[in-house]
Symmetry: C2
Subunit: 284 residues, 2 copies
Amino acid sequence: MRVFGDIPDLEPGDEFESREALAEAGVHPPTVAGISGSQHEGADSIVLSGGYEDDEDFGDVIIYTGSGGQKNGKQVADQALKGRNRALARSKIEGLPIRVTRGFKHRNELSPKSGYRYCGLFFVDDFWCEKGKSGFYVWRYRLIADEKSATSYLIGEPPSESAAPKRKQSSVNRIVRDYQRALNVKSWHASQCQICGLAISTSAGLYAEAAHIQPLGAPHGGPDIEENMLCLCPNHHVMFDNGGFTIDDDLSLIGIPGKLKAVARHNIGRRFIRYHREHYTKNA
Amino acid sequence: MRVFGDIPDLEPGDEFESREALAEAGVHPPTVAGISGSQHEGADSIVLSGGYEDDEDFGDVIIYTGSGGQKNGKQVADQALKGRNRALARSKIEGLPIRVTRGFKHRNELSPKSGYRYCGLFFVDDFWCEKGKSGFYVWRYRLIADEKSATSYLIGEPPSESAAPKRKQSSVNRIVRDYQRALNVKSWHASQCQICGLAISTSAGLYAEAAHIQPLGAPHGGPDIEENMLCLCPNHHVMFDNGGFTIDDDLSLIGIPGKLKAVARHNIGRRFIRYHREHYTKNA
């Protein structure tokens, strides 16, 4: 099974002699490809090795180039949003973390002189297509370091095409969620919303959200388990989180017509829907 | 006009002798009410004055209690999600910042010994209803400090009702957006999605998202102006940002059937939709 996120005993800064050592430690399983992942599961890891002329590394922000269309280290054709490129796009829409490793061939002050340095977890913030230096279209990904992995500085600012709005560093209490459990819920429902049946189409495949019924945040303290999650489209997620509707014990909806779509495998904890009813639609 | 966010020359830590001085500086216009706002516009400011027994102040996280249902400083009736309580809920769904001021009567180590201390901008992260210490239902709001305003410590952790998932501080490059322009676009379209016509119903009123056509983030550098925004439902926002559809120069949709709903007041910049077409759906 593909492992997303942290690997036990692995810390940002850990160094490895070779791609084989990196694979053996479970950081980046493939020994040649720069992207580890599949188009249905998402990407779990990348290695920056200087292979793509369009890569830009600002430390905590990396503009990464997809794979394909190369011959003898030169871009000779357009890249497609398939295979491992699609895997990186999938990681964006699933919100999955990606392990990032810098290799000695990657020309950057954060790269090791020899071997490979694991640099922590990043999230894909955006993906798009543009004409690269070669004149061929390449897929590009904006990766942002998770705070734990952040170097706490940027090597210069990423370039901006026009007067960019002012930026500032912002800190939020992000809850460490169980990626696998959210993926389970979405897969059991084939990404179809349990309210309206809709699955959202994107260029990276179907999109759905795993919504917590009793919120995880303080003071609610809901657990991060499948029984406390629903598979929802973004519209019904916003409504559910903001008192637009709630759910009765028999799974009929309150506030809007209909009934929650259920599948045998996904047990919904009645105490969680009671918590939601009590806290999000009372007196509203 | 109600002013959301920063006030010129006002810095977190600035102190004021009285509520009148606070009002005169534009920090918190009403001289008695703890919440400044209206239910249609949202709330722009709160003052913590020790008036509500259920308030909990952890520094960068505040669990704030709504207003109403009090007599002689005691909670004697349930609170409703109306008026200023609804204003705070509205600020959550509009993503509006709230100025927070601590008063000398608010028992907390961050409060001043006398007068009032402005403590910076917070965002409403969640709102819900619960039985307060009095036995009556009160509305509660989880406020989280914006990084610039954060004290960089929490006074203890907010209580959790069950084994909470591990938390960590996470840093993201948040772009300072022009709140008023996003509000303008949503109001011109009466919160109806320009693709499907839907306006999302919540207990805090209608919800819509102002979506940037050419993204603000590097390297795209789109401008934060109305001509570069669409009023979308969350579903069509996710699709638009992830290559699910794009828009032709005549405003017909590409990838899904239909045409962008337009209003005379809202001019859509053709160069922004061209940027989107070129970068988000090519080769996908």
